[in-house]
Symmetry: C2
Subunit: 328 residues, 2 copies
């Protein structure tokens, strides 16, 4: 398939769009708490996947409340030549950031003339942008030239909750200048109902359609998509899902006994943008474009392999995760 032909906006091929799932990088049941250990490993894996050669920390800031002096780059780094790097876009979810504020006020239902909704809109944006800043810092600390970009500030808006204005040109310019844009699920304006919540998964789908990356990776807190809630002991990991041109899909591996069986999913009650349902639906939409989608547990050897593009040719038997791709 000639992907270049369909790529109208990007000057250069995007290698990978990565979703950092809210559940993977935050402690989902603790209000506004980052899973620091996972975020550090994820940042390091992203750096290894993007940049060939050594790099250095790009966060020279003091953290609020900390007396620690930031580590600053040596001047002699300027004599190094620029490193080869692959073009990545990072999009993250909200996890324990933003959801509480959004659901408390009903931002997704719109109605900015209501004081509660307007306040909730402001509170939601404060929460998700503070998570964005922390993620940008973690990536920069690992040596990734990360640039935080909020969909609201990019001027993105919806109409009847569907993306209506979502110009990717600022994202593309950042990539072409050698940066890694870091977008996030956000509270944005909606021309019909005033405001809504734009999920990270919808952002990924839109950017995949516009920019046609080689592959898309969803980093999550379980090994992939299961045939029933993964907390159940007999849950089976779905290794490979084939999506047909008409949007229907079926499980290729493992061979399930009851093929008509619906994949059951768990949706956390406080997740205002939908959980695994949205994810599979958005992933299938991306796969229909001929772009491989990998859903994999963050901070594992399996996620590193997916991020590095090691699954494009063949999927090793010992790789744990879910591949969603166009039926051949």
């Amino acid at each position: 398939m000639d992907q270049q032909h369909q790529c109208t906006t990007a000057a250069a091929t995007i290698h990978c769009i990565v979703k950092l799932g809210g559940a993977a990088i935050t402690c989902k049941n603790e209000l506004e708490t980052i899973n620091e250990e996972n975020l550090t490993i994820v940042s390091s894996q992203l750096r290894k996947s993007m940049i060939l050669g050594t790099t250095h920390g790009m966060d020279w800031s003091r953290r609020p409340g900390s007396l620690e002096i930031p580590t600053v780059i040596d001047d002699d780094v300027n004599h190094q030549s620029e490193l080869d790097s692959k073009k990545f876009i990072v999009v993250h979810g909200a996890g324990s950031f933003g959801h509480f504020q959004a659901s408390k006020s009903g931002v997704h239902k719109g109605g900015l003339s209501k004081p509660l909704v307007k306040s909730g809109f402001v509170a939601t944006r404060i929460s998700v942008t503070s998570l964005n800043l922390e993620i940008v810092r973690a990536l920069a600390k690992a040596g990734i030239p990360s640039i935080g970009m909020s969909p609201f500030s990019c001027g993105w808006s919806t109409c009847e909750k569907d993306l209506a204005v979502a110009d990717a040109s600022t994202v593309v310019k950042a990539i072409d200048s050698g940066f890694v844009p870091v977008l996030h699920g956000d509270a944005i304006l909606d021309t019909s109902q005033g405001c809504t919540i734009l999920s990270g998964d919808v952002i990924i789908r839109h950017l995949a359609e516009e920019l046609r990356p080689d592959y898309v990776v969803f980093l999550t807190d379980v090994f992939g998509v299961y045939d029933r809630p993964p907390t159940e002991s007999n849950a089976v990991l779905l290794r490979e899902i084939a999506v047909r041109e008409d949007g229907s899909w079926s499980v290729l591996k493992p061979v399930l006994q009851d093929t008509s069986k619906q994949v059951e999913i768990t949706v956390a009650a406080h997740d205002t943008t939908g959980g695994m349902v949205t994810k599979i639906s958005e992933a299938a939409t991306i796969a229909r474009l001929g772009i491989d989608v990998y859903i994999v547990k963050a901070a594992t050897s399996h996620s590193l392999m997916a991020l590095q593009g090691g699954l494009k040719e063949s999927i090793p038997d010992d790789w744990l995760g879910t591949v969603i791709r166009l039926a051949k």
Copy 2:
């Protein structure tokens, strides 16, 4: 003067564009330290100037490292009717945020292919966006529906360091939806030299030209513009400066003995975007449009009067500050 006629973008009249000077809201000689006391008073004065009636906190987030549970709005607030509010835009400088990272790496000189500049660009944005988040939080806590918007994310860019692309439509949409956009001096892309620093003062001038507010207030850490560095004991506060159509200007009050004398200014060595020189020059450009500019010490009764628009008709004798306006 028919200001409405010249207003091409805004659907509604902007009352005031406020600059929160870096020196007023940060401790300029302590790396990345906010002047909390000033910021709290400034936020409260802004709320009083914008919104008639009582309001409530809109920051429902936990601060990083804090165990404090955020104060959340009562549900019954939804039964309140929307408050009358004046349309404001806030733009802040960097103070002790961003300058260090920018000057260490020379971001204003461009050259993104150099690893030091690219790293410095990332580090600068992390620093200024963390300040932006803190200011948005302080304003929201005071009851102002503040929305952080980075010029980089808005897609603004320069060519040969002059603003080339700076679409204000996202800012206008935020205002029309009842929010208070909070912009900031930022590291942005430059089509000729790769990157540069866009100062808060240049942002103010651009927005004033585009949106024609009733007046512009610069909040700073001294009482206004002096005839020599204000640290000198015999420095004289310039009360009123008249700008002529051709851009030349003269001091109307007080009557200076030596009228040919240049106004001396202090520029802190680490201020990469220029200090008072840029401010007067940008202020004069705004005043030439027929928009009154007030330069006043933050967190004083004088700043409150300026923010509330109390100087439009006449300037009380006991008001301390500098008025810059079109010569009559």
